[in-house]
Symmetry: C2
């Protein structure tokens, strides 16, 4: 029986994780839940899963949840709040495994604390690895703690890496759907609206990640994530555009063999893999290979998607540049969604922020968060 701490329990990955717990009651139970501001959902999850610890964003929300639990006659659930509350959920002795699924750098401290506490982490939060990957992977190596990627690409890579040694890896190939503008003429990019950009061809996701998918900055963040998770230089991570999102990624070995992972596009699959690793429980999340018709691949277009180039440049420099790439993008995407800048203003903003970013390698989470705040200020100044 694995007892889970779920950080970001009311979000999409958190809810999918709970649906896996529901399907495998003999394998998993819930030790702690860290939610944000969704009081109703946090209450419902507390009632359903009876964790020993629940955290909400603020003291006020925590007080309301405690009151509602009391009114409902439910005891034995401690309610905490804020970053400290999230950290408490991550390091509680009641949990054997931490699912890190809080979006953005908000999950950083708790994820770091989980690793320092020796807890295996299922990582769905790519900003963690982009902003603080150097710190997190160093801590994980030191404490011999596995970090299991919960996103389809890195999860696929993790699987494909099991058929060889690290020194035998030539290239990690991340697949990219190419987003909705893969075939749009470049001159039309100036007129892309938020409404167009929010239509992703294969995955249903949050607003920022959908725009990041349209600019391919998302794939850029994944390149950096892959470098950190799998300890390879950026030159060993490449992207192939694969519109069907059926092959989730590939690993090319030095002998010439390439291993690929194929599955349905459902996040429950990488979640189950991470929770159960190294086992594979039987699931109903099957892909109908007999119905497979075509798989298409093409090289990514760096002219159309300058965010990819910017990501490689940030990956080479590491540290503050990776933090700035992520932070500047978040601010630029907000501006694009607010119709303050055009679509191609996103990479232009990032490029300007990167140009003023010092070469630095934050050594603590506090330094990472300071560097993140600084990059956001620079981005706002660039946009003003």
């Amino acid at each position: 029986m694995k007892r889970l701490a779920i950080l970001g329990s009311t979000g999409s990955i958190g809810q999918s994780t709970l649906s896996i717990v529901e399907q495998f009651p003999d394998r998993y139970q819930v030790a702690s839940l860290a939610a944000g501001r969704n009081l109703d959902e946090a209450f419902a999850q507390s009632v359903r899963w009876r964790p020993s610890l629940v955290s909400l964003a603020t003291e006020e929300l925590a007080g309301q949840l405690a009151q509602r639990l009391k009114t409902a006659g439910i005891t034995g659930i401690e309610v905490v709040h804020g970053t400290q509350g999230t950290v408490a959920c991550a390091i509680t002795p009641e949990a054997d495994f931490v699912v890190s699924a809080i979006v953005g750098v908000a999950g950083l401290e708790a994820t770091h604390a989980a690793i320092l506490a020796g807890k295996p982490v299922g990582l769905a939060n790519k900003e963690c690895m982009v902003a603080a990957g150097e710190i997190l992977t160093a801590a994980a190596r030191q404490r011999n703690v596995p970090i299991l990627p919960i996103d389809s690409e890195h999860n696929a890579v993790h699987q494909c890496l099991r058929v060889g040694q690290h020194r035998e890896v030539k290239t990690i190939w991340l697949t990219a759907s190419g987003g909705p503008f893969r075939q749009m003429p470049l001159q039309d990019f100036a007129h892309i609206t938020p409404e167009q950009a929010l239509k992703h061809p294969t995955w249903v996701m949050g607003r920022r990640i959908t725009i990041d998918s349209a600019t391919m900055l998302n794939k850029g963040l994944e390149i950096i994530e892959a470098c950190r998770l799998f300890n390879v230089p950026p030159s060993q991570v490449k992207v192939t555009v694969h519109p069907q999102s059926t092959v989730h990624s590939l690993v090319e070995y030095i002998d010439g063999s390439i291993l690929a992972q194929i599955s349905i596009t459902d996040m429950r699959l990488p979640i189950l893999y991470a929770l159960a690793y190294p086992e594979r429980p039987a699931s109903t999340l099957t892909f109908d290979l007999a119905a497979l018709k075509h798989l298409d691949f093409e090289p990514p277009d760096f002219e159309r998607f300058p965010c990819l180039r910017l990501a490689y440049e940030a990956a080479e420099k590491g540290g503050a540049h990776c933090i700035a790439l992520n932070a500047a993008d978040e601010i630029a995407v907000e501006a694009f969604l607010d119709k303050r800048i055009p679509f191609m203003g996103i990479p232009r903003t990032i490029e300007k922020v990167l140009a003023t970013t010092p070469e630095a390698h934050p050594a603590t989470i506090a330094e990472v968060l300071a560097s993140d705040r600084e990059a956001r200020q620079t981005a706002r100044a660039v946009l003003a």
Copy 2:
């Protein structure tokens, strides 16, 4: 340093194996060579590789080789002949690894002897597994001897099986090019000539295997081979038609993940994999993933290719039925190449032979060979 016994050294796989030895002189050397009737090539290989033991098909050929070596002033090479000579090559204490690449059941005794002698085997001879797989795999399990498949499909499966446990395997998917008649209207099958059937779209191979590829009997033999090599029932082995022969096979796990292996169509790659396993040496046999455009898949057509159905039926019955499938096919293919029967006469002949084959499970290689001879006689009688 691995010292190799190469059975079938003058054939296509044998020569490819020697080209790998040439490329990796610090990893491999040649201990023994078993050739057939190609005296000139056997002489050239002996001069180049200086094995301690060489075997030829007959006493006369062996005498001629010994004489040519003596004339050339080359000493230290013992020349033997016949089945006993091949067995001697397989079990010589000078060899650590046996490449079994003699076509047909001729390589059976030597392969069995190698396993009994505790030598790891790289198996390129699929008839061995089809005719005597039950005996060979039982011996290999008992002696804890690895059998590493040297054909692109099973080699791919072997790789894909490394990312999970045996009990976690749902289906082994063998890819099939579909041969030259994949898209030909069924009513034209009556007029297929040997010349048409000998044109394989992706692989250059021997005559029988090329015809077997056109009838898909070859894939049928591979289904049986997969059952034996990987210890799964026929219901767990399926075929997907993949005209590009880029994905060499796939393994579907019970959790929903499918692993696929991709590489160039060059037999040196599975040979290198088998020789080096579990390592992966750097090779120049690379696949250009950046240039990959399309991969197509479709279900196999059992009406067009009745050999597939016959193979599943034989696989279910095992033993003598698998032997008869292979033996009857070889006789029927000869008859087709001699223009004595039409293309669809091949499955019809096999079906008639299978119908008269008793349900039996030969327990020794001698019984396998007797069963094989009997099936050939039946096939000839059916054709007469």
